[in-house]
Symmetry: C2
Subunit: 711 residues, 2 copies
C-alpha cells in the first residue's frame, strides 16, 4: 500500500529552488547524484527551470504521472498545495514543514485540516515535521543528505539528528548501510506500524532500526511487530522517559509526549530488541543484521588480558547471558594452545599466549565454537593491534586469524563479536573481520551489548508462539446477561457498576465468586444469612455511595439473626445519614471470606496500547514499592503465568514464614478470565479486583469494581 | 614514604636483556627515549653491556646507590633477587612476574615469602603480577609503553589492558595525559590506600583514576579517599561484580575475588565518583580534571535537534541531575537570538537558528550560563560539523564560538561539555574547545555522564562534613560492665551472648530496653511478672538453645500468677525434653511489647571494609525484596538518617493505610547506639536486633543477639 510512496517512480518537488542552501535545491541535486531513475518535476511558479529540469507552476500542471510530492513550502501553504496534489492524483506526499501539532492548538488544527484533505484525495502523508525519506536502492533520496551508505537496515526515526547520528556511525564504524530511511515526524497520517509492515515485506531490508519518542497507535504497532520480529529483528530506542524528556519530545515531534510505561514489557513480548543507550542502537542493528542469533543463551569470552574479561563477564551477566564453563575437551585443547598461566574455563585469558603469534586467536576460537555448550563468542582486548604494538610481521598473522574466524562463523552458524582497543587505528585485520560480517567495536560496553542482543533475539525466537496475538477480538465471547447489566447501567446513566453487578460479570465468565444476595429488607438479610451457613458480611449497595466503609456501610463477621438484623438497620441508618438523597438499592449479604494472600488485579485503557492488565500483591508491595506488572491484553496462559512470576515479591506466593503456598493456578485462571471479559465487553474501561484473597486452594474475590467507558 | 619508589632517582633493571622483544630490553630503551635523568643499572650475569650501559652481575655489585629495582625475572627467582636487593639497600622493587597469589596455594606461599624478605630489608613492593609503573614527569617509564601522553591524571589499575585502554583513549580522544601509572597487581605489599595518599600529596596530579577488581584493605582506602576527594576527585570503575566476573578477577589479580557489595555505598560516602561503564571512565576523569564542579545540580541542555535533547534529558534525569526551566530573562534573550520555532525553556532547541551562523551557539551559551539557576551546560548535536555539512565558511564561525565558549567557562566558573556527532572528523573548532579544556565526545551517553559527574562531585563537596571519619576508634566509649559480660562469656568459651546479656550491652550504651528479669524458679518468675504490671513474655535462657521457639521455650501474653507459673514449668520441661544436657540459666521475664513497625538492625564484619551496619524493614521487605541498606561503621547522625530514608520502603515509616507514623528519630538514635557499641567493643563480630518494633513514639527491642569474634 505504501509502495507508490516509498518506491515512487516520479517525484514533484514543491518549493524547488535555485538557492543552494535550500532543500528545494539540495533534493533535486541529490536525486541527480544518486541517479534516481524516476521523473523529477520541480514546482515553483517563479522559476522556469532548475538544474536543467523544466519548472512547473503547480503540481496539477505537470504532464506526466506523479507518485510522490516532496513539499518544502511552509505549513500554512499546505492546504492549497495538497488540494492541488489531489487534483493531479498524487499518491503520497512528504511534508517537511514544522508548525503543526508539535506547536500547540493552532498547529494541531492545521494538521487535522491537512490530514482531512489528504484523506479526501487518497494521498498518504509522511510527516509533517520530518527531515524526509530515502529509498537508497532507487536513489530516491529526499533528504538531501550525501554519502549515505546503502545496505539492509531500514531506519525509522522521529528525530532527523538521530538519523544523521546513526548514518554517520554506519559510515565511520562499519561496512553497513541502509535500505530506507523514513523521518516519521508527527505521524499525522502514516503510522509506525504501516512502515513496519512495508519493511517486513521489503526484500532489501534485513533489520529495522527505530528511534521513537512517542507512538500514536501502539497496539497496531505491536501486532505488526509480532509478525515482523519472527522474520526480521526490530531494534528500538525509546526516548522521552523522564518528565523533561517528555516535554522535549512533545515540543519537537508533536507526538504523544513520551512512551507509555507499558511499552517496555509490550515491546519485549512482541520480540522487539530495545536498547537503553544511543551508543548501542546502531551496533545492535549491525550485529542482528549480520550474524545468526545465539540459540542457547551461552557465550564464551576470549581475552588477552584479565581486565577486559572481567568487565565483559560482569556486563554479560547483567544482560542475563550465561558464561558456561567450557567442556573438558575444549579446556584441554586450549591448554595445548596456550601457556601454563592461561585461564581456560571461560572467560579464556590467553595470558601472553598470542604475543608472538596472534593467529592462535583463531585456533582458540575454533576450539571454543566447537564446544556444544557455547552459542557464541566475544573476543575482547587487543586483537588487531599486535602488528601495531609489537612488530609489523604480526599483522599478517592477525589477518590470517581474521580470515579463519570469518569462515568459522559461517560454518558453525555461531556468531563472533570483537572488541578491539585498536579499532580506531583501522588495521587491515579488523577490516577483514567486518568483511566477514563480524562487528568490531572499540567500546567494550558496545561489543558486549552486540553479543547480548544476539542472545536476546535467539531466546525470543526459541520461545515464539505462533498462535499468540495482540489483537482484541471484541465481543468474541460476549455473554448476554452481561450485556443486560451494562445496558441497564447505561439506561440509568451510570458509569460505575455496583459491586454485585461487577461480580455477576465475573460469574458469567466462569470466575469463582462467593454467593451474594441483595437484601432489600432486614428480613431478606436474615434469610440470606441463614442460607449462607456461617458468618456473613453486609455491605451497602448504592450507586451514590462509592466509599462504603466511610459511609458506615460495611459490617463484618455477623453471626445470628439478631446481629444480622441489627447490622442491616444500622447500615441503612448510616447510609441515609451519609447521603440523604442516596439511591439505596439494598444491602449485599455475602459469606465472610477465608484469609489469604491479598492480590490486586486491574485493567485500564492505556492511551497508546489500549486495554492493559495489572497484577500485584496487595498492600505495601503495590502501594509503596510499586511492585506491579503490566501486560497488553489479551494475554495467553503463558503470559499470565509469567506475570505472576515476574513481580519482585513473587516468592511470597510460595508461602512465607511457614505459611502455606498460595494457589498460583487460581491466580493465572483469574487473570485469563479478566482478559476474556475485556475482550467480551468493549464497554469496560476499568475493572478492579481489590483485594483478591488467594488461598492454598482457590481464591476469593473480596471486592470488584467496574467503570464503563463514556457512552 | 613512597617517594623513593615512585620518584626513584636510580633504577636497576634485573633481567636486563639484549633481546628487543623482552621487557628487560624495552624498559631500558624507553627510559632512554623518555630521557630519564636518574642512573640506569642493567643487571644480568650473562651480559657485559646493554644499550651502552655496563651490565652488573647482581644488584649488590652496583657501585652507586639504587632506589628502585625493576625485576623482570621469573617468580621463583624472587627470593634470591630480593635478598640481593636488600644487601644493596634498595628502597623499592617492581615485580613483574605472575605466578604468585593469583595461581593458588603454592603461589600464595611464595608471595608471602617474598613479602617477608622485603619487609626484613625495608623494601616496598609494587606488584607482583603487574605491568609496571610509570612516573611520566621524571621519564621513569618502567612499562616499556611508548607515546604515553603526559598530564595530570594519576592512574591506578589492576589490569594492564585497562591501563592500555585508558592511555589509548587519552591519546586519541582528548588532550589529556597522565602524571603516574601504577599497575597495582596483587597488592601484596603496597596497598591502594598508600598510592592514593601519595597522589593526594603529589602536586602534578589533579585527578586519580582507578580500575579495581578487588581491594585488600578497604577501610584504610576509604579513610584516605575521604581525605583525598575533598582536594582531588577520585574516579573509579570496579569490576568483578558477577560470579563469573569474580572468578575472572581472582584468576588474574590474585586479589580478593571481586569487591564487597558494601563498596558502592561506602565509595559514594567517601566522595569517590564510581562509574559503571568502562566507556565513561576516562571521560569522567577528563571532565573532573578540567572543569569546575557544578554547585547546584542544575544543568541546561543546548541542542540543534530534538532527538539528542530528549535523550540527554532522559539520561541526566537518570543521573539525578535537574534540568530547570530557564529564567524569564534568559528565555527572552534566547527568543531574540533564535527563530520562532525554537524551544527555549530547557532543553533549548535552536530549531535551525544556527544553520547559517553557528557562532550563535556561543551567544546562546552566554545567555544560559548567565542564568543564576544554571550550574552547567551540555551542548548536544552537530556543533563542529556545520563547516563540514553546509559550507566551509561556517567553520570559522564555529571556531569563533569555540573561543568564546572556552573563555566563558573560565569566567563564569560553570562547566560546558560538548557532544558532537562530528568529533571523529576532528574539525578545528572541536580541537579549540579541547584547548580550553572543554571535553568533546561523539557519544551522547558519555558526554552526558561527564556533566553528570561534575554535578555529582559538586553535590558531594557541598555536603562535605570535615569531622566525619571512617576510622574506628576501638574501645573509645567502652563501658566496664560490658567488658565483664564479654569476659564472662569468653571464660565459658561461648561466642554467642545470651539475649539478656546482649540487651544489657544495649542498656549500658543508653538504648531503651524493656525491663528484663532472669528467673531461676517459678516463684521468681511470678514475682517478676507481678513487678511488671501487665502481661509478660517468658523465654528460655540457655547457651545451648539458640532457637528458643523451636524448643518450646517461649510463652507470650501471660497474665496472672497461675498462668506465669504454669508457663515457667512448661518451658523448663520443654527445654529439657529438647536437649537433656542443655545448660539452662533460667527464664527471662519481660513485659509484652506494644505493636509497632518491625525493623531489623544488624552489624557484621565485612572482609574488605571491617564493621558494617545494616538496616531494613522486617519481614517480607527484607527477606523477599532484600530492601536493606548497608553502611561502613562508624556512622554519623546524618548517615543514620540517610539510611532510614534510603530503603525503598521508607514511606512505610510515615504510616500506611491510616497507621500512625513510626518514630524515625528513635530509629536513628538506635542506629547510632549500635555504631557506638561497635566502636566500644571490638570483640563483637555480629550484633542483631531482630525485630525491633517502632512505635509512634519510641521503639521496643524484641530480640537481640550478639556473636563475639573468635578468641
Amino acid at each position: 500500500m505504501l509502495e507508490k510512496v516509498l518506491n515512487a517512480e516520479s517525484v514533484a518537488v514543491v518549493g524547488a529552488s535555485k538557492n543552494e542552501t535550500k532543500r528545494g535545491y539540495q533534493t533535486i541535486r541529490t536525486l541527480l547524484e544518486e541517479k534516481y531513475e524516476g521523473n523529477i518535476y520541480p514546482v515553483n511558479p517563479k522559476e522556469t527551470s532548475i538544474l536543467g529540469f523544466k519548472c512547473h507552476k503547480a503540481v496539477s500542471e505537470i504532464e506526466g504521472f506523479v507518485d510522490l510530492a516532496l513539499i518544502a513550502t511552509p505549513a500554512r501553504t499546505l492546504p492549497v498545495v495538497l488540494e492541488d496534489c489531489g487534483k493531479k492524483g498524487v499518491q503520497g506526499a512528504v511534508i517537511l514543514a514544522g508548525g503543526f501539532g508539535e506547536t500547540g492548538q493552532d498547529g494541531r488544527k492545521l494538521e487535522n485540516e491537512v490530514v482531512a484533505i489528504a484523506d479526501k484525495h487518497g494521498i498518504r502523508l509522511i510527516g509533517p515535521n520530518t527531515s524526509g525519506m530515502m529509498n537508497l536502492k532507487a536513489g530516491l533520496n529526499l533528504v538531501g543528505m550525501r554519502d549515505v551508505p546503502k545496505g539492509d537496515i531500514a531506519l525509522l526515526s522521529q528525530s532527523g539528528n538521530m538519523a544523521l547520528t546513526l548514518i554517520t556511525e554506519a559510515r565511520l564504524k562499519s561496512k553497513k548501510g541502509f535500505s530506507y530511511y523514513v523521518g516519521v515526524g508527527n505521524e499525522a497520517d502514516i503510522k509506525f506500524h504501516e512502515y513496519l509492515e512495508f519493511f517486513r515485506q521489503d526484500p532489501q531490508t534485513r533489520v529495522i532500526l527505530m528511534y521513537v519518542e512517542g507512538m500514536r497507535q501502539g497496539r497496531k504497532f505491536l501486532e505488526q511487530a509480532y509478525k515482523t520480529t519472527i522474520e526480521k529483528p526490530v531494534v528500538l530506542l525509546k526516548s522521552g522517559r523522564s518528565a523533561t524528556g517528555k516535554r522535549s519530545a512533545g515540543s519537537h515531534t508533536g507526538a504523544l509526549a513520551g512512551m507509555s510505561a507499558v511499552a517496555d514489557g509490550a515491546f519485549k513480548r512482541a520480540g522487539i530488541i530495545t536498547v537503553e543507550k544511543s551508543d548501542q542502537l546502531f551496533p545492535a542493528a549491525e550485529a542482528l543484521s549480520n550474524l545468526p542469533p545465539i540459540k542457547n543463551n551461552k557465550v564464551a569470552i576470549l581475552a588477552d588480558g584479565g581486565g577486559h574479561a572481567t568487565i565483559a563477564a560482569d556486563l554479560l551477566t547483567d544482560l542475563g547471558v550465561e558464561i558456561p564453563e567450557l567442556g573438558k575437551k575444549t579446556q584441554q585443547r586450549l591448554r595445548e594452545l596456550l601457556p601454563a598461566a592461561a585461564s581456560v574455563p571461560n572467560p579464556v585469558d590467553v595470558a601472553g599466549g598470542t604475543d608472538s603469534d596472534p593467529s592462535i586467536f583463531a585456533d582458540c576460537a575454533r576450539a571454543i565454537l566447537k564446544d556444544p555448550n557455547v552459542g557464541g563468542l566475544l573476543v575482547v582486548g587487543l586483537f588487531g593491534g599486535y602488528g601495531i604494538r609489537f612488530a609489523e610481521s604480526l599483522s599478517l598473522m592477525e589477518e590470517d586469524a581474521a580470515h579463519r574466524m570469518g569462515k568459522m562463523v559461517k560454518k558453525s552458524q555461531k556468531p563472533i563479536v570483537v572488541h578491539s582497543l585498536f579499532s580506531s587505528a583501522q588495521p587491515h585485520s579488523l577490516d577483514l573481520l567486518r568483511y566477514y560480517k563480524i562487528p568490531v567495536y572499540d567500546s567494550l560496553d558496545v561489543a558486549t551489548k552486540c553479543i547480548g542482543v544476539l542472545s536476546e533475539y535467539g531466546q525470543y525466537l526459541g520461545g515464539y508462539h505462533a498462535k499468540f496475538s495482540f489483537n482484541i477480538e471484541a465481543g468474541k465471547k460476549s455473554q448476554p446477561e452481561v450485556q443486560v447489566l451494562i445496558d441497564n447501567a447505561r439506561q440509568e446513566k451510570r458509569r460505575a457498576l455496583l459491586e454485585h453487578e461487577a461480580k455477576q460479570i465475573l460469574t458469567a465468565h466462569g470466575a469463582d465468586v462467593a454467593d451474594q444476595l441483595l437484601a432489600e429488607t432486614a428480613a431478606d438479610a436474615v434469610a440470606a444469612a441463614k442460607a449462607t451457613k456461617g458468618p456473613v458480611a453486609l455491605k451497602i449497595v448504592s450507586p451514590d455511595i462509592l466509599h462504603k466503609s466511610d459511609a458506615g456501610g460495611v459490617k463484618l463477621n455477623l453471626v445470628g439473626d439478631a446481629k444480622v438484623e441489627k447490622a442491616f438497620n444500622a447500615i441503612m441508618r448510616n447510609a441515609k445519614r451519609y447521603d440523604a438523597k442516596a439511591d439505596i438499592r439494598g444491602v449485599l449479604v455475602t459469606p465472610m471470606l477465608k484469609d489469604g494472600m491479598e492480590i490486586i488485579i486491574g485493567t485500564k485503557i492505556d492511551d497508546q496500547f489500549g486495554p492493559v492488565i495489572m497484577f500485584g500483591i496487595g498492600g505495601v508491595l503495590v502501594e509503596v514499592l510499586k511492585d506491579v506488572v503490566f501486560r497488553v491484553l489479551p494475554i495467553s496462559r503463558r503470559s499470565a503465568r509469567h506475570m505472576v512470576d515476574e513481580i519482585r515479591s513473587t516468592k511470597l506466593l510460595d508461602g512465607f514464614r511457614g505459611e502455606r503456598p498460595s494457589d498460583r493456578k487460581a491466580v493465572v485462571k483469574l487473570l485469563l478470565t479478566v482478559s476474556e471479559i475485556t475482550e467480551a465487553c468493549p464497554d469496560i474501561e476499568e475493572l478492579d479486583l481489590n483485594p483478591v484473597l488467594v488461598h492454598a486452594k482457590g481464591l476469593s474475590i473480596a471486592d470488584a469494581r467496574v467503570i464503563l467507558r463514556e457512552a
